[in-house]
Every structure is written in C-alpha cells, then in structure tokens.
C-alpha cells in the first residue's frame, strides 16, 4: 500500500467527511475523525521521510500519465506543508472536544467534524497536487468548508457576528478563487496545459504575450487575497475573531500557509523557467506589500482589545515576514520563509488554543477579562507566554531562528533598511504580547474569578505540545533549517538568474 500513500493522504479524510454525516452519533464521530486525522498525520510523516531520503514522488490518478491526467507530485516543499497541515489538524482535533461543545450548537457537532475533515482534505489536496486546475477544485473545497466552519461561531455562546464575518470572507474568498481560475484559464488558452511541470516547460515561449502577463497578474492577486497580505487582509481579522476557537486555531495555522505555498509554487515552479524577479517588478511589489503588512499588522495588533483580533493582525505581520523572504530573492531569505511557515504554524495555533481555553472559562477574550488569569489558569497562560515569546522572536525560541535568517537574507541582498523594518515590527510585537502578560500576571482582576481555571488535559496537552515544539525547534534548529535550505536550493535552482 505504500505506493498509494500520496492519494490516501487526501482520500482518507475525504471519505471520512461524508461518513461522519452517516454515523451521526457524536462519540463515534469524534473517535472516528481522531483515528482518521491521526492516520493522515502518520502518512504525512512517512511521505516526508520518503521524500527527504529518496527524492520526489509522483502518483498518476486513474493511471493516466502525467501531462494528460492529474498528477500528485510530492517534493520536499509540499511534504513539509503536508506534515504541518496534518500535524496541526490532528492536535487541534484532540483539543476541540470541550471547546466546540461550548461554542457550537449541540445538533451541529457532527457536522463540525465532517466540515473539519473536508477543510483538511482541501488543504492537503491543494498542497499535494501537481495540476493547477485540480488545485482550484481543492481551493474551493477548503474555502466552502471554512466559510461554514466560521459561521458555526454563531451558535451557543458565540454571536451572530460570526455569520457576518463568514459572509465577508465568502465574498472576498470567492473573488480570490475567481482571480486564480481566470489566471489558470488564460494560461490554458495559451499553452493547452494544466500540469505544473508541463506549464513550466511551455510558458517561457509565450511569456512576452499580454495574455500570460495578465494571467500572472490575476494569479498573484488572487493568491494574495487568499493569504491575506496587505491590502487584501480585510476579511481575516473578523473571520478569526468570530469563528469558534478551534476553527481559528486550525485555519490561522494552515489556511494562509497553504496560500503562501501556492504562491511559491506559481513563482518557482509554474513560472520557474522565467526569471520573474528580473523581468517583472514582482519582487519590488512583494517586498513593499510585505513590509506594509509587517508594520501595519503589528501596529494594528497593538491597538486591539479583542485578543483574537490581535492575533489575527499579528498573523498579517507574520505573513509579511514570509512573503518578504520570497521577495528578497536569495537562498537564505527563502529558507527563512520556509522555516517560518513551519514555526509560525506551531506558535499561532498554540496561541489561539490558549485563547480558546480562556474563552471557555471567562466567556470573553477581551484583554480586560484576562486580568489576573496568570494565577487562575497557570498552565494556559504559561503556554500563551511561551508561544508569544516565540512570536516576538526571543532567542532560544523558533521565532528567533526564522527572523535571524530573514535579517541575514535582507543583509545579503544589501537591504539594511529592510532588516531595520523587521526589527521595528518585532519591537511592536513585544508591545502587544507584553500587554497580555501584564494583564494576566501583574494586574488584579476587577472581580474575583472563582470559576476561571485551567482546562482538562485534552485541551492543554495539544496546546503544550505546540508551545514546547516552538522551544524545541528554537534550540535544535538543525532539522528545520536543514530541510528549508534544501527546499530553497531546489526552488531557486530551476530559475535562470
């Protein structure tokens, strides 16, 4: 069966999603989806190991050979992404039990599991496929299921604002998807190809046509919308703040990362034979947008009173770092981006999980409500602080590694003002994390918090696994940086300078 692992990675959660609807009985559904996500995690770990030792894997769906049929193609880059998605997917699902029971209407809980698996299927599929149209299909699966997941925040303790947030995301997300498919359509018109490797071969000869240049524009704008880069980030804060905590922890860690992956794929594989950064102003555009995201994201985060909104704006800044690494166009910066994809997924998920636990016991995620929680919820708040330190980029945390590499990359390109901006944005992140720490540890609560206490182990164990991982990969960065360097070399290797 090992030869079929690439397709099983996607098909297992895909088949599990409708099965949840058939089973309906909540305990069984939960057990079943845990087994499935756990298996998906094992598969992704195996695939990562295989790809790392033996090179890329290709799988022909329906046995139709590559340029004609749909090809699943796994190299080191998407193996890493598969690993992130299924790891976070598994841990968040373990965490979800008590949290969703409080936040989602009882009779929709089995649908939550179904949608969650479907969303995971979409993300895994987007990453694994080697076909630009198939990618669109998975993009839509992800998008539709995440709109519904976000709207579920309207049940029970949540508020009707969730529906509004989901609708806003729906409008903008659909625009993003449409732009992407227009880009794909234009490329198909000129080359007759949908397979990524095939497109890479055919595009250089037609790149001087306006059609292909328009296609590039549509693709970049569409994908940028999906990854919520400034100025197309307006949907993100509301969506993450209003969604159920579990959904925010999953989507914040994976959805935008996958959009970044698609951007990398487009620039370095599909348009890989064309020196985009030399012939088009794409690198300048990416750098300017990334820097604006970093500064505006961090600044907005400082002024938020709702902590989930704060984290959403901090995500905007973090996506800025990642895109900056792409735009700087050197191997060090690019590997910084890839390391940060991984590191940021770990810490952001841990932070949202901690807030979910806070929301469960205090029914609020306003900063004021977190006063004195350091004493009542020591385990949760400690996890928040650890992941927060990593978000700032304090030495010995994983955030430090990625920022250090990124600053090095900026200096390598001779852009010291950019390196300075990275430091400024990091300083701003100290402010907003410190505000939470101050509230939780140094302020007395307005009224006594007898009920606020740490959640059970199903919640704090996954939270702490992620928080501890962001320390682990800060101390022992050899594995992550090693893999990221390898990925960056292969990505840049194909591009003519």
């Amino acid at each position: 069966m090992t030869a079929h692992l690439p397709v099983l990675q996607v098909v297992l959660p895909l088949m599990a999603a409708p099965l949840c609807v058939v089973i309906r009985q909540l305990t069984l559904v939960r057990l079943f989806s845990l087994v499935v996500t756990g298996t998906a995690f094992l598969i992704s770990a195996t695939l990562l190991y295989q790809v790392n030792t033996a090179g890329p894997i290709s799988y022909a769906i329906g046995n139709w050979p590559a340029p004609y049929g749909i090809e699943y193609r796994i190299d080191l880059l998407n193996a890493v992404l598969l690993f992130i998605i299924s790891l976070i997917g598994f841990l968040v699902l373990i965490y979800s039990k008590n949290s969703i029971a409080r936040e989602i209407t009882q009779n929709r809980l089995y649908l939550f599991h179904s949608l969650y698996l479907l969303c995971m299927t979409g993300l895994l599929g987007m990453v694994i496929t080697g076909d630009v149209f198939n990618l669109f299909v998975f993009l839509e699966i992800t998008a539709l299921s995440s709109y519904a997941l976000i709207a579920m925040g309207g049940g029970r303790l949540g508020n009707p604002q969730a529906l509004y947030a989901a609708f806003r995301y729906l409008i903008l997300g659909t625009l993003g998807g449409t732009f992407y498919i227009i880009g794909v359509g234009l490329m198909y018109m000129m080359t007759g190809a949908l397979n990524m490797a095939d497109l890479a071969r055919l595009l250089p000869s037609v790149f001087d046509t306006t059609t292909i240049q328009a296609a590039l524009g549509f693709l970049v704008v569409g994908i940028t919308l999906k990854m919520a880069l400034f100025p197309l980030h307006m949907w993100q804060a509301a969506a993450y703040a209003r969604a159920p905590s579990t959904v925010s922890s999953f989507l914040a860690a994976t959805a935008t990362k996958v959009a970044v992956y698609v951007q990398l794929r487009m620039i370095f594989t599909v348009f890989g034979q064309i020196p985009l950064f030399r012939d088009t102003p794409l690198d300048e555009i990416l750098i300017v947008l990334a820097l604006s995201s970093m500064i505006i994201g961090s600044l907005s985060a400082v002024y938020q009173k709702d902590m989930r909104r704060m984290l959403a704006f901090s995500s905007l800044a973090q996506i800025g770092y990642i895109v900056l690494g792409i735009g700087l166009n050197n191997a060090t910066a690019l590997s910084a981006s890839i390391v940060h994809l991984f590191n940021h997924a770990l810490m952001k998920s841990a932070l949202f999980m901690a807030l979910g636990a806070v929301f469960m016991s205090t029914h609020s995620v306003k900063r004021g409500a977190m006063r004195g929680l350091g004493r009542n919820m020591p385990i949760t708040m400690a996890a928040f602080v650890v992941a927060g330190l990593s978000l700032i980029g304090v030495p010995l945390t994983s955030g430090f590694i990625s920022k250090w590499l990124l600053v090095q990359g900026a200096l390598e390109s001779g852009m010291w003002p950019v390196a300075l901006m990275i430091l400024v944005s990091s300083l701003l992140s100290i402010i907003y994390i410190w505000k939470v720490v101050e509230a939780a540890y140094f302020k007395k609560p307005k009224r006594a918090l007898p009920k606020a206490r740490d959640p059970g182990p199903t919640m704090w164990v996954p939270m702490w696994i992620l928080a501890a991982a962001s320390i682990w990969f800060g101390v022992d960065a050899g594995t992550t940086v090693g893999i990221a360097n390898k990925v960056a070399e292969t990505l840049l290797g194909g591009v003519p300078q």
């Binding site: 409708p18 058939v22 329906g62």
Partner: protein, 138 residues
C-alpha cells in the same frame, strides 16, 4: 396551489416524464450528452415542482431530511469507494481498467458508478438547498 386543478393535473402528468428524462441523461450519459451532474439537477426539479404544487409539508414527508443527508454522503462515498476498490484490485486510484477482465468494460463500469455517485449527491444537494431556503421564516 393544491386547489388549482390545472396546475395539479399538469404537474402530475409532467413528473414521470421529467423523472424518465433524468434517468435518460444519467444512464445514457456515456453515449450521448449528459452525465451525473445534469441528471441530478433534473431529478431534483421533480421534487421542487412537487413541493411548489402540493406544498412543502408533503414534499418533506416524501423525502425526509435524514434520507437526503444520507444520499448526500452516499454519492461522495460511492465515487471515492470506486477509487478505493480499484486500488485494492491492484490498480492506481480510480484506474477503472482493473474493474473488469476487459479494460474497455472496466472503464464503462467505472464511469457508470462514479457518475451515479455524482447524480445522487447533486440531486440530494439541490433538494436540500431548496428545502433549507424555502423553510426559512424571514
């Protein structure tokens, strides 16, 4: 509209033919134009027509939500299930050739089952969407 004799009788008269046409589009889809998606939509039209003429209550009684939900899931499972079967029979995922001794027959059977899955899911989805929207009280 239940009390309007013309609507009622015409609807009764039309429904079997629409059903028949849906089946034609579904099962003749591999020789002529058609396929699961179109057939599913046409099949759903029968229910929507029935609901419009005989009232939503009756229509919901004919197809309870639990059955619709099962159909929604079953279609997807049938599609992916065919893929799993081909895998266990030694082919790639969705490689219909291995389904029968003769690759051509295998392809035929594979496409037939997969399109059936699409048809079931699409019909259930259309009816569900109609029920959900028409059941809302402003």
């Amino acid at each position: 509209m239940k009390n309007q004799a013309i609507y009622r009788e015409v609807a009764k008269l039309m429904m079997p033919f629409i059903l028949m046409f849906a089946m034609y589009v579904q099962f003749h889809g591999d020789f002529g134009p058609g396929g699961g998606f179109q057939a599913g939509v046409i099949l759903a039209v029968v229910y929507i027509l029935y609901a419009l003429v005989f009232g939503l209550g009756n229509a919901r009684h004919v197809t309870p939500m639990t059955i619709l939900r099962f159909m929604l899931a079953f279609g997807v499972l049938l599609y992916a299930g065919v893929g799993m079967v081909t895998m266990f029979m030694g082919g790639q995922f969705l490689d219909y050739n291995v389904l029968s001794h003769d690759p051509a027959h295998g392809q035929h059977l594979g496409v037939f089952l997969v399109e059936l899955g699409v048809g079931i899911s699409v019909a259930a989805a259309m009816i569900t969407i109609f029920f959900v929207f028409s059941g809302q009280e402003h």
